[in-house]
């Protein structure tokens, strides 16, 4: 049983040498193992900022608050330590790293997170299986990390990593956008596998209710103006779908 807590989190985006802007204005959220929290909110409200700040992205700086995983302060950890502690971020825009092959990258990452190098044969079997589950052609393993991948291919590979690394908590930032109908199903199944097999806690950032038909949320939060403006059950998603964010944006302003 894992408890992931975000408490009073404030963060700035670092724009230039001494230019910065506060984006997160006090975020509170607790995610327990097995729970899925959908986070919905208008463009520019700070959802990705929340995700990146938790992961330790160099362009963001946390100015106040805490992020705890089972009581351990995530913010005291290096970026890679956070991942090894079981926090995973599927990025809205996965990064291309030319010249580093996907298979090399995955092996290094699995080795680091699991604390020991998997046997080569065993790993390649595991990798092939995981790729097959996500309908990823085996040829991708030889390509550079995300290099020249289409938008949807990048998203599938984020979930491939998720499945290999088996995090305790995953933040999925618009993993559904850019996916075709079939891919959405495939990717959703991948997320659900992780939820079932090891009770992954999930923060699912999305603009669309469609993915919520596949990955059932326990809670839905409205994110506006750099904080959670309202929380509710799965029904809240439908309300948002029909009414939009207007009332929250006004309230936040």
């Amino acid at each position: 049983m894992t408890k992931f807590e975000i408490r009073g989190l404030r963060a700035d985006v670092l724009i230039g040498e001494d230019e910065r802007q506060e984006i997160l204005k006090g975020v509170d959220l607790t995610v327990n193992s097995g729970e899925t929290h959908a986070i919905m909110g208008p463009n520019g409200s700070g959802k990705s900022t929340l995700a990146y700040a938790i992961a330790g992205h160099p362009r963001y700086e946390i100015t106040e608050g805490e992020v705890l995983i089972d009581g351990e302060n995530v913010l005291d950890m290096e970026v890679d330590e956070r991942a090894r502690a079981g926090v995973f971020l599927a990025m809205q825009y996965p990064v291309e790293v030319p010249g580093v092959s996907m298979s090399n990258f995955l092996r290094s990452s699995v080795t680091a997170v699991r604390g020991e190098a998997p046997k080569l044969r065993q790993f390649s079997k595991e990798l092939q299986g995981a790729m097959k589950n996500l309908s990823i052609d085996s040829g991708f393993a030889a390509r550079g990390v995300n290099e020249g991948f289409s938008g949807g291919e990048k998203k599938r590979h984020e979930i491939l990593q998720l499945e290999l690394l088996k995090p305790k908590v995953a933040i999925l930032d618009e993993t559904d956008s850019g996916l075709d109908v079939d891919a959405l199903k495939i990717v959703s199944e991948g997320i659900n596998r992780s939820k079932e097999t090891h009770q992954m806690g999930t923060m699912l950032i999305t603009h669309y209710t469609r993915i919520l038909n596949h990955v059932k949320p326990d809670f839905v939060h409205v994110f506006a103006g750099g904080r959670i403006a309202e929380s509710g059950g799965p029904d809240l998603a439908d309300t948002l779908e029909s009414e939009g964010y207007e009332r929250f944006v006004k309230a936040g302003a």
Partner: protein
């Protein structure tokens, strides 16, 4: 005609600001045709003269000794010849005082000839170990028409060395040269490569500069007929206090010739200094030239210095393609972030990204063990700078 691209440049100087074509293509075999440089000359302004250990104004005695081991498969003739061998004067002129000095003073030259139509079944390896002192050298690698060869020159040891390596690629022949400068840390090496490529011949060079206190390597290409092709690739890892200077000159003196120049380096540590000068001349009255040159530098620490100067001089309107790019910068922190966000420790993430940066270049080396060896040396150097 495509105009030169204007990607970000480091310490770059405008096109045509400094006329270079006359001097650089001219040259002379005679050291006395060049005045003793004072460091303000265009071709010397980046080189720390005092670290040449007297090469630019040589008065002493050439007392250096090299150990040379040549491993050549059937089809290659290896000769030691005297100064009077006329083949040694066919491949192009030394372009500066030091390489002219070498040509004026060498005692014996090594000549490798690959017979007409012979495709070597394995590479030629020349292991050269410098055993101190000052020495001037002359090498010639000659590929007769339709011959095919890979030649690896591995240079280790220490001393003060200046020389010319002439390369003659016959009609339809294909030569791949891999020259590794893995000198000990106090060595000085000033070398010019003079390649002449005949009709439909292909010359590929891959230069790997890792060692030495000062290495100044000037690969020069001239074309003897149409359809000739040259690709110059280079990799350098410049550590603290090292000076690595690469100066390529491609003279598209004839129509329908092609060139690619691609040099990539990494620098780390105090006063590491890398210089890349890429001169390309597209001659008057020529047509159908296809040329592109690129230099990239990865500055792993702030106390390093890069001078990257692409020079493209075009004297004709009939160009198929001509462009250049030069960029220097630090490791991309977003690349590192992505790898680290997957649990990979920082040091390993850096290693992966740097490996990736050099991978394509190293993969151009057509020998697997050598690729691994060089990647290993690069990683070793990287580790020693962490």
């Amino acid at each position: 005609m495509t105009s030169p691209s204007t990607e970000p440049k480091a310490h770059s100087h405008g096109l045509g600001e400094i006329p270079f074509s006359k001097l650089a293509t001219h040259g002379s075999f005679d050291v006395n045709d060049f005045p003793v440089p004072n460091g303000r000359e265009e071709e010397w302004r980046f080189t720390p003269l005092r670290r040449l250990k007297g090469l630019h104004d040589f008065k002493g005695e050439a007392d250096g000794v090299d150990r040379l081991d040549v491993d050549a498969p059937e089809g290659v003739t290896v000769e030691k010849v005297g100064r009077d061998d006329e083949r040694l004067r066919t491949a192009g002129l030394p372009a500066d005082r030091v390489t002219a000095q070498a040509h004026s003073a060498f005692e014996e030259a090594t000549v490798l000839t690959v017979a007409k139509g012979t495709a070597l079944e394995r590479p030629v390896t020349i292991e050269r170990q410098a055993q101190g002192g000052t020495r001037f050298d002359q090498y010639l690698i000659e590929l007769e028409p339709m011959a095919e060869a890979v030649v690896v020159l591995k240079q280790t040891g220490t001393g003060v060395r200046a020389g010319n390596l002439d390369l003659h690629v016959g009609e339809g022949a294909r030569l791949t040269l891999v020259s590794v400068q893995d000198w000990e840390q106090d060595a000085v090496d000033v070398t010019q490569h003079n390649a002449q490529v005949e009709k439909d011949g292909t010359f590929k060079s891959i230069v790997v500069t890792l060692g030495g206190d000062l290495v100044r390597l000037s690969p020069k290409v001239a074309y003897k007929d149409r359809g000739a092709n040259a690709e110059l690739h280079g990799l350098y890892f410049t550590g603290d206090g090292q000076h690595h200077e690469h100066r390529s000159l491609i003279d598209h003196n004839l129509s329908s010739t092609r060139s690619r120049v691609e040099y990539k380096g990494a620098l780390s540590g105090k006063d590491a200094h890398a210089v890349w000068i890429g001169d390309v001349i597209i001659g008057e009255g020529t047509s159908g030239t296809d040329s592109y040159e690129l230099n990239r530098n990865l500055q792993l620490t702030d106390d390093t210095r890069v001078d990257s100067v692409p020079n493209l001089e075009i004297f004709t309107g009939e160009v198929e393609g001509a462009g250049h790019a030069s960029a220097s910068g630090r490791l991309d922190d977003i690349h590192l972030f992505y790898l680290r966000s997957r649990g990979i420790p920082e040091e390993e993430a850096r290693r992966l990204v740097i490996r990736g940066y050099f991978l394509e270049l190293i993969n151009r080396i057509p020998i697997e063990e050598l690729r691994d060896e060089i990647m290993g040396k690069v990683e070793q150097k990287l580790a020693s700078h962490e």
